[in-house]
């Protein structure tokens, strides 16, 4: 066990994987200076500029070229800088990478980790703040992962690099410097949720940084005598239906919370799956951003955030059985 930041945990996972496998390499803008969030700090010194490769500001080419390099036997880690910029490489990800193995009848693989820093962070406004994980969950061929803690950013990054499928790996920008204990023996597994807190009264399902906010909400609820179970999905495809269904069978109540826009968000998938499987004691609650655009001014940005207070309130509503 060692204490490290969320960014440092992923960096350690990458360094270990690169030491073990010479075909693993990283490519993206500014990586030679540690990356825009310093999440590659020190790696170019150890591995050199060919394996920690700078790139032109050509997101489509970064994604496309990494895919070409993956098809011929390397294992690229692709840095998109901001999840928003990855939209410049949508054809490459959705039409090429996700489909190649299938279209070519199993002749190719695309073992890639595609890092897309996501989420609201320091008044970054509409083009540097989005959470688009539900888009990728919709695309067959992709694995989608949204870790929320240093431990999970270590374990899931290790799993993503080892995975032979393309993994869309969304790290939340607001928690790069969050510290936590990391056990490097703990293996990550896609489709295996982490129960962040056990409880019998209400199931709260979340992922990415909102899962951390759910824990805060659960603390408040505990003070009021409401025992919430907080499930952090870690990966959205595959997602751990078994863990969620087993929890709601126990609690009979469901709250799903995420930072991304509520409309057509992945929360809808979770609620629908539960609704067609388990008869709940109360109506399910779904929390997400209103379908508006992320603004620059802090007070405007706040209007769009799912907060611990909103999560607690939703849980109280479910437990109070006011429906």
């Amino acid at each position: 066990m060692a204490a490290m930041t969320y960014a440092g945990a992923a960096r350690l996972a990458i360094a270990e994987a690169m030491r073990a496998d010479p075909t693993v390499w990283c490519v993206g803008e500014d990586l030679g200076r540690g990356g825009v969030f310093k999440q590659y700090d020190g790696l170019v010194e150890e591995f050199g500029p060919e394996r920690i490769s700078d790139a032109p500001i050509s997101e489509a080419a970064i994604m496309g070229a990494a895919f070409g390099a993956a098809m011929v036997g390397t294992r690229p880690i692709v840095e998109m800088r901001f999840a928003d910029f990855a939209l410049c490489a949508t054809d490459e990800l959705v039409n090429q990478i996700a489909k190649a193995r299938f279209m070519f009848g199993g002749q190719s693989r695309a073992p890639m980790v595609i890092r897309k820093p996501m989420g609201m962070w320091r008044s970054s406004a509409a083009q540097h703040s989005q959470s688009l994980e539900s888009w990728y969950a919709h695309i067959p061929g992709l694995v989608v992962c949204c870790p929320a803690t240093p431990q999970d950013n270590y374990s899931m990054m290790k799993a993503a690099i080892a995975c032979d499928d393309p993994v869309v790996y969304l790290e939340h920008k607001d928690i790069w410097l969050d510290e936590g204990e990391v056990d490097t023996d703990l293996a990550g597994e896609f489709g295996k949720a982490r129960v962040r807190r056990e409880g019998g009264d209400v199931t709260i399902v979340s992922w990415s940084n909102t899962a951390n906010l759910c824990l805060d909400a659960a603390e408040t609820l505990a003070g009021e005598g409401i025992d919430a179970e907080v499930i952090d999905l870690l990966s959205l495809w595959p997602w751990d239906k078994a863990a969620v269904l087993s929890s709601v069978r126990k609690t009979g109540r469901l709250v799903v919370a995420h930072e991304s826009v509520a409309v057509a968000g992945f929360g809808a998938e979770v609620v629908a799956t539960v609704a067609q499987t388990v008869r709940l004691k109360a109506l399910p609650r779904r929390l997400g951003s209103p379908r508006s655009l992320i603004a620059y001014a802090p007070n405007l940005e706040e209007q769009l955030k799912v907060t611990p207070a909103m999560i607690s309130e939703a849980a109280r509503g479910a437990v109070g059985g006011e429906d």
């Binding site: 075909t23 390499w25 060919e50 394996r51 490769s53 032109p56 050509s58 489509a60 080419a61 496309g64 070229a65 990494a66 895919f67 070409g68 390099a69 993956a70 098809m71 011929v72 036997g73 390397t74 054809d91 490459e92 039409n95 090429q96 190649a100 193995r101 299938f102 279209m103 070519f104 009848g105 199993g106 002749q107 190719s108 067959p140 061929g141 992709l142 694995v143 995975c163 032979d164 499928d165 896609f190 489709g191 990966s235 495809w237 595959p238 239906k241």
Partner: protein, 331 residues
């Protein structure tokens, strides 16, 4: 008179391969129109066979190529088997992609053919990346990326060619200018010259007649030899002409009257090579025999494809992904 040092044997080999490509596509077109056996759109390269034959000639089996929606010729010339390709066009079991890709996604990784692509220009930076991977892994493989004139107007052209130049990659970009971007004259939609764009990006660029297989084969051999030796990217811009429509069902009425007929009579690479072979003393009957054998081979390939079963229903859930595979959970 054939040109000095004209190599009759090589000429006959090239004629045979061009005839095979043409016969493959003529057979596929008939299978589509007469029997509705080819289900989706196919894009024929009739009239462009010399490019496929000349560019693939100096390549080794382990070299990689990436192609386009108009890729049958490239695929055959790289060494793929006609029956497996025909089965793919018919969507049958035993097709090179198991019937899952069809014509626009034809691929044969066993011969280094890393895929046709249904999105114009999308293969350009992917190919640069394949060359990037080759460089990282070491060895003297090279990569050839073929695309049409229309692709020069999409972003991946700039990003992919720049990438190859920046990272000094062993790749040959081949722009096959057949005059038309689908049904639109490319020259009407293109500012400046494509070859000048490549030069502006710092690549050594050669312009050539894409319908003179003899000269083009020599040019391609020289360029690919240089890429293998130096590891540096180059660009080859060739002028050719698409004698067929954009798709097999496109009558191409947007062409000026008489243009296609004129080009068929003056520019068809098969016709031109036959004239030169005849001048060098090859009997018409010998060349006709190559034509006949190619037609027979492709008819047999179609018969094999027609007789092949559909792929197993559950293969639609295979090869999507290992983690979260729809074979385990489709919903």
């Amino acid at each position: 008179m054939s040109r000095p040092n004209f190599d009759v044997e090589a000429g006959l080999r090239r004629l045979e391969l061009m005839e095979r490509i043409r016969a493959f596509e003529e057979t596929a077109r008939r299978a589509a129109i007469d029997e509705q056996l080819v289900l989706g759109a196919i894009h024929l390269s009739i009239g462009q066979e010399a490019v496929a034959v000349a560019v693939m000639e100096p390549l080794r089996r382990e070299d990689y190529i990436l192609s386009t929606h108009r890729g049958h010729g490239h695929t055959l010339a790289k060494g793929a088997e006609a029956p497996a390709m025909m089965k793919e066009l018919l969507g049958r079991e035993g097709g090179c992609c198991g019937g899952k890709g069809g014509s626009m996604h034809i691929a044969d990784f066993g011969v280094g053919m890393l895929g046709a692509n249904g999105v114009v220009a999308a293969n350009i930076h992917i190919a640069a990346g394949a060359a990037h991977g080759v460089k990282l892994l070491g060895g003297d493989r090279i990569v050839v990326c073929l695309f049409g004139d229309g692709a020069a107007n999409r972003g991946p052209f700039l990003e992919g060619v720049n990438w190859a130049g920046v990272f000094d990659l062993p790749i040959l970009f081949v722009c096959e200018d057949n005059h038309y971007s689908a049904s639109t004259l490319t020259s009407a939609m293109t500012s400046g010259r494509v070859a000048d764009r490549a030069r502006a990006l710092g690549l050594r660029t050669t312009e050539a007649d894409g319908n003179d297989v003899t000269a083009l084969a020599a040019t391609a051999a020289e360029i690919t030899g240089r890429i293998r030796a130096t590891g540096k990217p180059e660009f080859l811009y060739v002028k050719t002409y698409r004698l067929s429509g954009h798709t097999y069902f496109d009558p191409a009425t947007y062409r000026p009257e008489g243009e296609a007929e004129h080009m068929r009579e003056t520019a068809c690479p098969i016709m031109r090579l036959r004239v030169e072979l005849a001048e060098a003393g090859v009997a018409e009957a010998d060349m006709d025999a190559l034509h006949g054998a190619a037609a027979e081979e492709m008819t047999a390939a179609l018969d094999a494809a027609r007789a092949a079963p559909w792929p197993a229903d559950d293969s639609v859930f295979a090869d999507v992904q290992d983690i979260g595979s729809p074979a385990m959970e489709a919903f």
